[in-house]
């Protein structure tokens, strides 16, 4: 076993840290929460120039040809700086889905533009039932004269309002008992007739939308992967993306500690630093355990994905553990920082919100514990 990042990853991490410290201060994070688009085109282009959009994309499609662990390392720095914008939905959700299911032509059409930051993708998955499980997918795609007609409503679609391409999960067949069939993925242009996008207003200020499909006709060329076999792609994408989300948590957890520890050392009450009180020390020790275990669980799962090893169980373990632990860590940071941390101007609140949002995205702890239980043969 070896717990160390390699040299390239260490450099990537340090460079990303420096870059985001300069380009993504907390004022910018607040500004983007109020901004209608929710991201800065200028920063987006700079990130594309650094090859961040192409981390996972093979060199033949103009990407960096990196592995999943590289991506996780980069996301941890984005999490540290609470970076707003469509990076996650475009590069992780969109990119992974295209890489998993795209035909050569679809890859050649989409990936080079994605890698250059010229095309923003997103994945339209969840519906009003609010669940990631296949039974929750009702949006219908019916074949009519060689075209598919999409009808239904997607919710919680990240950055759909700025996306150039939607990947829409639709029901094309019946769910056969326990077989998870009948789902098909479609590449849809959001400007197409019948697509209506309405923003939702979120706690963490990240941008999500309702996307209604009113008899949207798409050609059979826009099918991504095999018809009716979408779930196996989605499941894998969800598990990988859940690990990537935990990558953000690694950084967010570290940032919350970087706020809390100096604060308790400096804040004096009863004539001594509050850090000298055992009750506070024990909270801080628990934060340290959460921070270290989130990191190790995530790196292990990301490493397994990178190495092409089975990762399903580790991925769900990682998301379940990360979801609970990151939230609890930030809550402890709030507890030891006290009233100051409750102030809007204090940055900890950004992480409090991010922790809950990251927890709920791509399956919370209960959801993933259930998947772990399945992996355990229960």
């Amino acid at each position: 076993m070896n717990y160390d990042l390699n040299k390239t990853q260490t450099i990537l991490k340090e460079e990303a840290h420096r870059f985001l410290a300069k380009e993504c201060p907390s004022d910018f994070v607040r500004e983007m929460a109020d901004d209608e688009t929710g991201y800065s085109k200028k920063l987006w282009q700079k990130m594309a120039e650094l090859d961040w959009m192409g981390v996972l994309i093979p060199e033949q499609y103009g990407g960096m040809g990196g592995n999943f662990l590289d991506l996780t390392v980069l996301l941890s720095e984005m999490g540290y700086h609470c970076m707003p914008g469509p990076y996650f939905c475009s590069v992780v959700l969109g990119g992974l889905t295209i890489l998993e299911a795209g035909s050569d032509k679809q890859k050649a059409d989409i990936l080079p533009l994605l890698a250059r930051g010229k095309r923003i993708l997103t994945l339209a998955w969840v519906e009003p039932e609010g669940t990631y499980v296949p039974e929750g997918i009702k949006l219908s795609a019916k074949l009519h004269e060689g075209q598919y007609i999409l009808s239904g409503t997607k919710l919680f679609v990240p950055y759909a309002h700025v996306a150039d391409t939607l990947i829409c999960v639709a029901r094309t067949g019946k769910e056969k008992q326990g077989k998870n069939t009948g789902l098909t993925l479609f590449v849809v242009d959001p400007k197409q007739k019948g697509v209506r996008i309405e923003p939702l207003i979120t706690m963490a200020g990240d941008k999500q939308s309702e996307v209604a499909f009113e008899n949207v006709a798409v050609s059979s060329d826009s099918v991504l992967g095999s018809p009716d076999q979408g779930w196996s792609v989605l499941k894998k994408v969800l598990q990988m993306a859940a690990v990537a989300k935990c990558g953000e948590m690694i950084g967010g957890a570290r940032r919350a500690m970087d706020m809390a520890i100096p604060y308790v050392k400096g804040r004096e009450q009863f004539g001594r630093p509050v850090a000298a009180f055992q009750a506070v020390q024990h909270h801080c020790a628990n934060m340290l355990t959460y921070a270290d275990t989130i990191k190790l669980m995530t790196y292990q799962a990301a490493w397994r994905i990178s190495e092409g090893l089975p990762f399903e169980k580790e991925a769900s373990m990682c998301k379940a553990w990360g979801s609970d632990s990151y939230r609890q860590l930030v809550a402890l940071a709030h507890q030891v920082i006290g009233g100051m941390g409750f102030m809007e101007e204090y940055d900890l609140q950004l992480y409090f919100k991010h922790a809950k949002s990251a927890e709920q995205t791509l399956g919370d702890a209960d959801f993933h514990r259930e998947w772990v239980a399945c992996e355990m043969g229960m």
């Binding site: 076993m1 662990l69 850090a275 000298a276 020790a285 490493w303 355990m376 229960m378």
Partner: protein
């Protein structure tokens, strides 16, 4: 990064597993269980000598001291394998030995390390006293310097191995006038020395620990570990080794509980189909995975030539709290059956769970309580001030 064992490590682990499978008999299990997995019973000693003959007791020691010159990673992995079947505790090999290796004189290393590595001698920890539990700097037992030997008077308590071990790994005050932390020494005392009285204390796990009384006990200065009055630091080092906690035996119990849940039908369906049961067992599996990662992290740090800092306390804390959760969850899943002891009609899982539930109480107490571990993590790991 790499989160799997190397091919070479896997090869050795396969051999270890096969050895354990063929050598651990029901009689040996029964003897070990009866003495609380202290190593010192007749069958246990036979088993350990055979086990140690492969170099597996101390794989990461240099060959001249009976090891294999192998990695700490392999050493930790072997500990975990053995604990999975039989959680034997080795005071000499895994706590005192590494401390002697670091701080002992060449003579002491020559005298003790080989017999320890071969599994020929076992030590018992001699730290706790009635007025010195978490605060080991408050020891009272005194070793008076008489030229070439010490004369010891005082009392120890909760010294668990002493009735089966050969030697006492003893912390005693050698300079009562000196400041805290500078007043004690470590020494090795033959437990058969005249003047030592061992009195049993029986725990709620049904096991024997002991009070040990020293009445004018003569100990040669040759048995002093390292330097006089530096004992507190050696003790802290030895405690860190003790805290690297293989959770194998609880992992095995957990697997048996999962199996029980799969096989036990209640209300027309297996317990394992109950969403609450699934959530609880999955959560334990997740925490076992996290523990695995922080356990082998310790080996990784040691193999990099560094000394683990707060990481040891984190693992001890995490593992022992998890141990209690596993035992308690087992009780919840077995329900009313969980109360039945192994001798009872209708006992489930051979009464293991109720025993483990009683036993696990001490896990978060010995080798430094959870509170002490959190203190260490805060002070050493996060550099928080102590006042």
């Amino acid at each position: 990064m790499d989160f799997e064992f190397s091919a070479q490590e896997q090869k050795v682990l396969k051999q270890v597993r096969a050895f354990i499978k063929s050598e651990v008999t029901p009689e040996l299990q029964a003897e070990s269980l009866a003495i609380g997995y202290c190593y010192g019973g007749k069958l246990g000693r036979e088993f350990v000598r055979k086990f140690a003959a492969n170099g597996w007791l101390v794989p990461n020691w240099p060959e001249e001291y009976g090891g294999l010159g192998a990695s700490a990673m392999l050493t930790f992995a072997i500990k975990e394998e053995l604990a999975y079947i039989m959680p034997l505790i080795f005071v000499a090999a895994h706590m005192a030995g590494p401390t002697i290796m670091h701080f002992g004189s060449d003579e002491m290393k020559k005298q003790w390390l080989l017999p320890i590595a071969r599994g020929e001698v076992e030590f018992a920890l001699g730290y706790t006293e009635p007025w010195a539990g978490s605060d080991l700097s408050a020891l009272q037992i005194e070793a008076v310097d008489q030229g070439d030997h010490f004369v010891l008077n005082g009392q120890k308590t909760f010294n668990t191995h002493t009735h089966v071990a050969d030697y006492h790994w003893l912390a005693a005050i050698t300079d009562p006038d000196a400041k805290r932390y500078k007043n004690m020494s470590m020494m090795i005392v033959d437990l058969k020395t005249p003047g030592i009285t061992i009195r049993p204390l029986i725990t709620m796990a049904g096991w024997q620990t002991n009070e040990v009384f020293y009445d004018n006990v003569v100990v040669s200065k040759e048995n002093l570990v390292g330097e006089m009055n530096q004992g507190f630091y050696y003790l802290m080092a030895a405690l860190d080794y003790e805290r690297m906690f293989p959770l194998g035996s609880y992992r095995r119990l957990f697997e048996e509980i999962v199996q029980y849940a799969k096989e036990t039908v209640v209300g027309g369906r297996p317990l394992s189909k109950d969403p609450l049961v699934r959530q609880k067992l999955a959560q334990l599996a997740i925490e076992l995975e996290a523990n695995k990662l922080i356990f082998f992290r310790l080996a990784h740090i040691i193999d990099e030539g560094k000394i683990p800092n707060y990481e040891t306390s984190m693992q001890k804390l995490f593992a022992t709290e998890l141990a209690q959760k596993i035992a308690n969850t087992g009780m919840e899943i077995l329900g009313l059956y969980s109360q039945l002891k192994k001798e009872s009609k209708w006992a489930a899982l051979s009464g293991q769970v109720e025993h483990r539930y009683r036993w696990s109480v001490v896990e978060t107490i010995y080798a430094g309580t959870s509170e002490i571990q959190r203190n260490i993590m805060a002070l050493r790991g996060l550099k928080l001030p102590s006042k």
